[in-house]
Symmetry: C2
Subunit: 148 residues, 2 copies
């Protein structure tokens, strides 16, 4: 097997895999944004973390680590969420870092969105999987983790 080339079959598998991921994500994201007005990764991801990991608030640095976004991408995103009234930001008393706090309208948005998100993930992802798929996804994740 020549590793400097991708034959037709290999290329097809790579594109198939990328397209399957993209299609499933697009469907979940579309359903979320149409029904809740929140983006899946950014808005919902931030709000859920604030509630579930921080009981309503987290340091910005903790969000960066949990979301695996760059500092600057998260910072820009939080500015927009602040403008929309979903979160507040306050400098920490220690003078070192920023606290991100969910507002009551952020809390309502995430509460209303959870069942919609769950339904979308069931419909577009979980319901598509066989038991064997679940086992293979788990094993592949382990192999890929070991590589890092």
């Amino acid at each position: 097997m020549d590793k400097n080339e991708l034959n037709e079959e290999e290329m097809q598998l790579w594109y198939m895999w990328k397209n399957t991921f993209k299609k499933i994500m697009d469907r979940v994201v579309k359903e979320m944004s149409e029904k809740t007005g929140l983006s899946e990764e950014g808005d919902f991801g931030v709000l859920v973390r604030l509630v579930d990991l921080g009981n309503g608030e987290l340091r910005q640095q903790e969000l960066v680590e949990s979301m695996e976004w760059t500092k600057s991408r998260l910072s820009h995103h939080l500015t927009r969420m602040e403008q929309r009234g979903l979160v507040l930001r306050k400098p920490l008393d220690t003078g070192n870092g920023v606290q991100v706090i969910i507002t009551s309208s952020g809390k309502s948005a995430v509460d209303a969105s959870r069942p919609i998100y769950a339904k979308a993930v069931h419909k577009h992802f979980l319901d598509q999987l066989t038991d064997q798929d679940i086992e293979l996804i788990t094993k592949l994740a382990e192999r890929v983790d070991k590589m890092s």
Copy 2:
């Protein structure tokens, strides 16, 4: 099973799957950009399509369809690629649409990048798959396609 909720196991599977995809893509993209200076999806994707589908040139609309990008995203990206000397754009004689043409330096870049891309896809994706995984990816792609 309550479809308005994601239990711990379901949530874990969803994140595991998203993270596996993200890790593999990040590794391929990083290797591409470090070793070739081209982005995987945008730069390399455009140049490969121009050569493989169009023998060096395609209508911008054909690129839009093949890449499944929005018109405006592709247009901005092509502007940057044009500035870097990788492609040229010319209005079509019919006055309707734009032709995108690979330059000789775009051609050199894609030729030099192909084996690097192939190696990265082998290392980070194909080499991680068992025969069972390949079957799963193929079947899942079929099921997901049918849903659309």
